[in-house]
Amino acid sequence: MALTSDDLIRRSASSVPAPATKLPEVAKLIDVSKCIGCKACQSACIEWNDLKPAVGENSGSYQNPPDLSPDTWTLMKFTEWDNPATGNLEWLIRKDGCMHCSDPGCLKACPAPGAIVQYSNGIVDFVHENCIGCGYCVKGCPFNIPRISKVDEKAYKCTLCSDRVSNGQGPACAKSCPTQAIVFGTKEDMKKHADKRIADLKSRGFAQAGLYDPAGVGGTHVMYVLHHADQPEIYAGLPKNPAISAVVEVWKGATKYAGLAVVGLAAAAGFVHHLVAGANRVTREDEENAAKLKEKA
């Protein structure tokens, strides 16, 4: 059964009635310790979503293309990290893409009604026919994910394969992963699965192994198992405590309401003043005085 407007819990620049029944929350769990950097997920994403990124250029890293783009919705980010505790060089590979936040900054920032929606299963989706290409989602996102296309000036990002998920399938990236570093299921199951993986990592010397499901954005529907969960920023800048920027909160909170109120008050003040004071008219006396002045000149 496809996801419909009945399954919406949030809709940008508009409101939706609470859904009668909520879908179970889903999540994609990415275990970076099992990732071999093969990029099958990147290829599967391009294939399933019919993206056509241009042929890239080698920039001296396995990371290719260098960044997410309107037609690269997921990207393996490679980091060579010197572990100061062990002196070992660790090759960290993190599959970057939309985190599907419970409190999505993109949706909060979006001015176009219905251009960004959130389903009760947790998926945050862009509805391109409603997108106006303003780039506010880029400013709202704490993870720097949305990209605006130069072709149609609309915003693009991972959909968590909402079209597959709504038909009982997992996302294309999870389906293609040869090591099952990417798994998909209900968020509850994924947390349980993560617990086992973390216990295993801890038993093998990764004392700081843990789950990345940041509370600052209400938790995410893409989670990571990290072997160094105490320092997520070493994984190509994964933010430690992501949250919607305070500037964005002020812009989309107090400013939005106070702004309209102030403009309304200014107009009302003029109206009331005119009612009370009446028009400020030139009198016959003024004209006579002006005429006298001119005669003297």
Binding site: K256, N280, D286, N289
Partner: protein, 226 residues
């Protein structure tokens, strides 16, 4: 003093603005209104429907910054026409302190006003400052052409500054427009380029004296406020 009687016949007319200044003002005014409408539409969801006037949300987003460029250069023209006449002078403080009398329509006991009163000067200088903030912050969030020049953190601050400056500018514009409506005869300055002698006597007496000072009484041209 405000009175309810009909507007008396003009004793004579005084040129207040040149045609070029009026055209310059009209272009600036029209772009400011279009910017306010398209900007407010993207600012508050309840006003998003206003994007329909521009051909939809994407068109409003596309056209808004271009109108902003027109406003900037339009205002730039106004700035250089009028900045000297808006420099502070003696009497501005008194005018501001007598806000109550002015708002009540009782200007008769104040020091004679030159080309602009302190309120008009405040409109002029606040708009000058606000438009600088708006163009600078606006360029920072004109992602279609300038995305790569600023960081996302900078853009967040810019988008907030843009919204706040725009709200204040709209309020200043409301004051500007309301004053022109309330003080009858003012609109003539923009629609005709001239005001009646009585209007000038009542509201800008020193400017009137200076304007007709060296002239004969035959109604020859007097210096416009430019």
């Amino acid at each position: 003093m405000s009175n309810a009687g009909p507007t008396p016949e003009a004793s004579y007319r005084v040129t207040r603005y040149t045609t070029a200044a009026r055209l310059n003002h009209m272009v600036t005014a029209a772009s400011l209104v279009l910017l306010a409408v398209s900007g407010m539409a993207l600012f508050h969801p309840s006003l998003f429907f206003l994007t329909g006037l521009f051909g939809g949300g994407a068109m409003a987003r596309e056209i808004h910054p271009w109108i902003g460029v027109v406003l900037f250069f339009g205002f730039f023209g106004l700035f250089f026409r009028f900045w000297k006449a808006n420099l502070p002078e003696k009497g501005d403080g008194e005018w501001l302190k007598s806000g109550g009398a002015v708002l009540g329509g009782h200007e008769e006991n104040l020091t004679e006003i030159g080309r602009y009163n302190a309120g008009q000067k405040l409109v002029f200088w606040s708009m000058s400052a606000l438009i600088l903030v708006l163009i600078a912050s606006g360029l920072a969030i004109w992602d279609e052409y300038f995305f790569q020049y600023t960081s996302i953190d900078t853009k967040r601050i810019a988008v907030l500054a843009h919204a706040i400056a725009a709200i204040v500018a709209i309020c200043v514009w409301i004051i500007h427009l309301y004053a022109a409506i309330w003080v009858r005869g003012t609109m003539d300055a923009m629609t005709k380029g001239s005001v009646t002698g009585g209007w000038a006597w009542r509201h800008h007496r020193r400017w009137l004296r200076e304007s007709i000072g060296g002239k004969s009484a035959d109604g020859g041209n007097v210096t416009p406020a430019e």
